[in-house]
Assembly symmetry: C2
Homo-oligomer: 207 residues x 2
């Protein structure tokens, strides 16, 4: 939204509806008729699919500022995955049809949609590459380094959500995440609750 001009911005805000969901609420289900796309304002939303045995796999974890279901803007009238509030969550939702129309009129809106889709696509391709190339400790190290102030040789991070959610985001079972953390202890990573201390950032980069 930051890139929108004044008129485009106000027209988007006209369309927006703010919604609240409680932890574990489903925002929509896979296959359901799709009316809206969403932008997270606060909290985290989990996008996942089920296999036919009922096992769940996270596709994406969306936090403040992230949009989801935007790929339905150009085509498709059914949601492609399930979406669940990981905690109490506030989102803005936009009627797909109205945004489609608005993108036709306002160049800024089309441009913002392109930016959304691009960055989302980049993240998703990174995710595939990481899934296919990295072991569990490497994925965790990667995540920590991505969410770490760049400066300094040591750092401290507070996870913004539960470990089980991080596990899903990284494509791991919660137990595998736990074991990955404990294998990173020798690289100077200390975990206490949601607080993670990194003694030596450059050592972590070697993992």
């Amino acid at each position: 939204m930051a890139s929108l001009g004044a008129t485009a911005l106000s027209r988007m805000l006209e369309i927006a509806t703010v919604m609240n969901y409680e932890a574990r609420d489903l925002l929509f289900r896979e296959g359901e008729g799709a009316e809206y796309f969403y932008c997270v304002l606060s909290g985290y939303v989990r996008l996942f699919r089920l296999n036919k045995d009922g096992r769940e796999a996270d596709i994406r974890i969306c936090g403040p500022g992230d949009t989801f279901a935007e790929c339905l803007l150009s085509m498709g009238d059914h949601y492609l995955y399930n979406s669940q509030a990981a905690e109490n969550v506030t989102v803005a939702r936009f009627e797909l049809a109205k945004v489609r129309a608005l993108a036709e009129q306002e160049k800024d809106v089309a441009k913002a949609v392109i930016q959304c889709l691009s960055s989302h696509l980049r993240n998703t391709m990174d995710c595939i590459a990481n899934d296919r190339l990295q072991t569990a400790p490497q994925r965790v190290a990667h995540y920590l380094l991505d969410n770490c102030p760049q400066d300094g040789s040591s750092a401290s991070i507070r996870l913004p959500f539960q470990k089980s959610l991080l596990a899903g985001k990284l494509g791991l079972a919660p137990e595998a995440l736990s074991r990955a953390f404990s294998s990173l202890r020798r690289a100077g990573v200390t975990v206490r609750g949601r607080i993670i201390q990194i003694a030596d950032i450059s050592a972590l980069k070697q993992i």
Copy 2:
């Protein structure tokens, strides 16, 4: 391109350069300064990343009609992965800067970019879900069903590329693909070279 109006189409074609590459040629490398995005005209292109041990993982296999490096249109000036011709290949390439400018002027172009990105994003998210939910035989069954005439109870497919490429596309080692095929024999799948016979489509759906 099919959705472009006459003027938008001709302006895109003005920008396009057709290029040929031989099998194993690199079109670009990860980290290289990015000048173009591409559209495959014939043949197949492999997009892949390396981990620091030099192991390769395919991110995407692009065939005729597929575009790649489009996510650089909105931002980023370096390629995000390596791109290699899997065989003799013809592609059209477009200067990113010129397409960016054109998308500002021509609504059709912006719309087409949105469509490209959307469908690419959908495929990529599907890929993550498949990687995380499905075993090797399930991925192969899924691929066969996706590339199968819908009608009828049996079918015959000719793979458009080498098995090793299909393996990479499905996130498998070639040996794992081979074993997956042989485990699908009991479900009525017969492989002879690139020709794959499916005796019972509905049986395959049960996998």
